[in-house]
């Protein structure tokens, strides 16, 4: 009865995605490996930077999770070494340090996303999924998700031809969601990416914004597109 079974629809696309975890803390590694296996990923774990780098070079992975502090070779050096060899696998950096500067240096080194310990498994899973499903081509001027259409030039949104009047902030939020249909988006991801927030406020800010957006997007009698995923976040998903 893990929460993973509640939203099997968010399962990675076939063939089974292969993930390399480089983490020296044995208990965290065990938890992550367990969780990811339950979610249907093929996970391999290495506990030092050196071994992780060798493994990352020798086989093709769909994604890597790299801890910042590692014995032998630290996480940022591992990522830099991979990037030097043009290995473009998406990398999620894990760190016990919360400093924003630290996050910046992690991303600068070639990481694609950054997660601070302790983290919820749901948060980790959502971010992995988002990393593997790169957002839709951002050069397109029209985005379509099911009955929803977004015109980025006219700044107009319609659902089955019905105009959806949105405030600028709602438009930005919906655009972010429409570029990642079917993906679980956590509150933290939304705050970080839509509002450029680097810290987590105490209040249920995101819920309120999503609530307002949902009332406009999902009109009375229409099938809901914006879903709440308990314990994880939100997702824009076309039913059926």
């Amino acid at each position: 009865m893990t929460p993973a079974h509640e939203h099997g629809a968010a399962r990675p696309t076939d063939p089974i995605a292969r993930i390399l975890l480089i983490e020296d803390d044995a208990s965290i590694a065990a938890e992550v490996v367990d969780e990811l296996k339950t979610r249907g990923y093929d996970v391999r774990h290495e506990n030092t930077g050196r071994k992780g780098l060798d493994e990352g070079r020798s086989r093709k992975y769909d994604l890597m999770i790299v801890d910042r502090m590692l014995p032998e070779l630290d996480g940022l050096s591992v990522i830099e070494a991979l990037r030097e060899q043009n290995i473009t696998v998406p990398v999620l950096v894990l760190s016990a340090l919360s400093a924003v500067d630290d996050r910046v240096s992690g991303l600068k080194a070639g990481g694609d996303d950054y997660l601070t310990k302790p983290f919820a498994m749901e948060e980790l899973a959502a971010r992995l999924e988002a990393l593997m499903r790169r957002p839709n081509d951002s050069r397109a001027t029209m985005i379509h998700v099911g009955p929803l259409s977004m015109d980025l030039i006219e700044r107009r949104v319609t659902r089955d031809g019905r105009d959806v009047e949105l405030l600028p902030r709602e438009f930005r939020l919906l655009e972010y969601m429409m570029r990642r249909p079917g993906t679980v988006l956590t509150r933290t991801m939304l705050l970080e990416d839509v509002w450029n927030y680097r810290f987590i406020p105490q209040t249920n800010l995101v819920d309120v914004h999503i609530g307002k957006l949902r009332r406009k997007v999902d009109g009375p009698g229409e099938a809901p597109l914006i879903h709440s995923i308990r314990g994880a976040g939100f997702s824009l998903r076309v039913p059926g």
């Binding site: 927030y197 309120v208 307002k212």
Partner: protein, 473 residues
């Protein structure tokens, strides 16, 4: 050992420097006196020669010849050391200057001429040569008067000796004074060392002997004591914070434990267990939020975050945050208004951190304001370039005696115990503002006993030229 210490004291070194200075000063003074006196003596010599010559010139040639002859025999040679009459070809007629001094010319002013007698040392004399009438029927003659430089030589000798004699006692006296003073200073420093040793051994209440802070050493001790007072105060604060943290963490942890225990003790259905797990996770999240906030405060207070400083626009920041919080204010039935941000307000700071300040202030204002109330955010620049920011609400307010405490670590008014949060929001705010060199003032908003509201007034320093060059440099 003590001896060696003595010579190493600052006072002793200062004494040595002082002695050198005194000797230099003294020598300079003697040199000056010598130069003055020498000049005076030369002036006097010239004067005497000229006066004497003036007297002699007025006499008849016969009288003059007689005078010169007699003078060379009888004069005690106090004023004139030589006198002679020469003919125009520089041959001596009468007197005690046997040969014409080399280089001497007729002039109204006395001249210095070196005399180099064979078989003796050369010496300098002052001569005055002037034409006088000869006996009737013969040519003019030249009167030569001479005066030795012995007075000047003596002067030089006397000054030298006086200088040497007076240096010795002065040096001895200064050294003795230096040793005495250093000895005293060393004794006081020793007392301070003992006090410091006590403090290092853990007696944080010990203080250095500062007396009445009358001299520099005592004033230094006074400053150190004040520093120790501050440190002791901080230590107490940290100790209290430690207790507060323990207390605030204990409560949710105790709840988690009780819940898990109950769930484990009796068989329950899956739904109950899930709810228990969810609640436990929430409680643990609160613990984490407290720990995270504490770490962040520590990080900010360490001042390591200035790396993110740059020129930024406060107006845009306020607009963004207001945009983020507007929906939540709306659902709480509170009006959120923004004033004075129509034009950019340039500030030198860290966008992410100031974001956090604004968010915390607005979040708090909304939290503690009942439905129907209002929250407003305003900002602007004073004439002197300082930038102000005000977040005003019509909420429950903060009692005057609690206003200072709320910005301290972990303070939560009893009124806010039921409101969720780490209780560290305002501590974070004040830590970030301190990092920006800004001040935070908390006031009541209005005269209303029940809902006085609060004004959080922030004043940022003016953007200085330095900051800008750092930004682009």
């Amino acid at each position: 050992m003590f001896q060696a210490d003595l010579f190493r004291t600052a006072t002793f070194r200062l004494t040595l420097a002082f002695v050198v200075a005194i000797i230099s000063g003294m020598l300079l003074q003697f040199a000056l006196v010598y130069v003055q006196m020498n000049g005076y003596e030369l002036e006097r010599s010239n004067d005497l020669l000229q006066r004497e010559a003036a007297l002699l010139v007025r006499e008849t040639p016969e009288q003059l010849e007689y005078e010169v002859r007699e003078r060379s025999k009888t004069d005690l040679r106090v004023i004139l050391n030589g006198a002679a009459l020469f003919d125009l070809d520089h041959n001596m007629i009468v007197g005690d200057i046997k040969t014409w001094p080399q280089g001497l010319t007729l002039a109204s002013r006395p001249q210095r001429v070196w005399i180099d007698p064979p078989g003796d040392r050369a010496y300098e004399m002052r001569f005055l040569a002037m034409e006088v009438l000869g006996p009737p029927g013969s040519d003019h003659r030249i009167l030569v008067l001479a005066r030795s430089m012995h007075m000047a030589d003596e002067l030089r000798y006397i000054t030298k000796r006086a200088a040497l004699i007076s240096v010795v006692p002065i040096v001895v006296f200064a050294l003795l004074a230096g040793i005495f003073l250093s000895h005293r200073a060393l004794g006081r420093v020793k007392e301070m060392h003992e006090a410091i040793d006590l403090i290092m051994d853990g007696d944080v209440h010990e203080r250095l002997p500062a007396g009445r802070e009358q001299d520099d050493l005592e004033r230094l001790a006074g400053s150190v004591n004040r520093m120790l007072d501050r440190l002791e105060h901080l230590l107490d604060e940290i100790r209290n914070v430690g207790n507060d943290i323990a207390h605030d963490l204990r409560t949710p942890l105790a709840r988690v434990r009780a819940r898990l225990e109950r769930a484990a003790a009796t068989p329950h259905d899956a739904e109950y267990l899930n709810a228990t797990i969810a609640q436990a996770t929430l409680d643990l999240d609160q613990c984490f939020s407290i720990i995270t906030a504490l770490l962040r405060i520590g990080e900010i207070e360490n001042g390591r975050r200035r790396a993110g400083f740059a020129q930024m626009d406060l107006s845009a920041l306020i607009a963004d945050i207001a945009d983020l919080y507007e929906p939540i204010a709306e659902t709480e039935g509170i009006s959120l208004a923004v004033h004075g941000i129509n034009q950019p307000i340039t500030l030198y700071g860290d966008v992410d951190l100031l974001n956090e300040v604004l968010a915390n202030l607005i979040d708090n204002a909304i939290k503690f304001t009942p439905a129907g109330g209002s929250v407003s955010v305003a900002a602007g620049a004073h004439d002197d370039g300082k930038i102000w920011l005000k977040v005003t609400d019509t909420g429950i307010g903060i009692p005057e005696d609690e206003r200072e405490a709320v910005v301290g670590r972990f303070y939560r008014s009893d009124k806010s115990r039921h409101v969720p949060g780490s209780g560290l929001g305002l501590s974070l705010v004040s830590a970030i503002l301190r990092l920006h060199g800004a001040t935070l003032q908390i006031m009541a908003n209005r005269e209303d006993m029940k809902m006085p509201g609060s004004v959080f007034s922030v004043l940022f320093p003016a953007v200085s030229h330095n900051d800008i060059s750092v930004t682009f440099g």
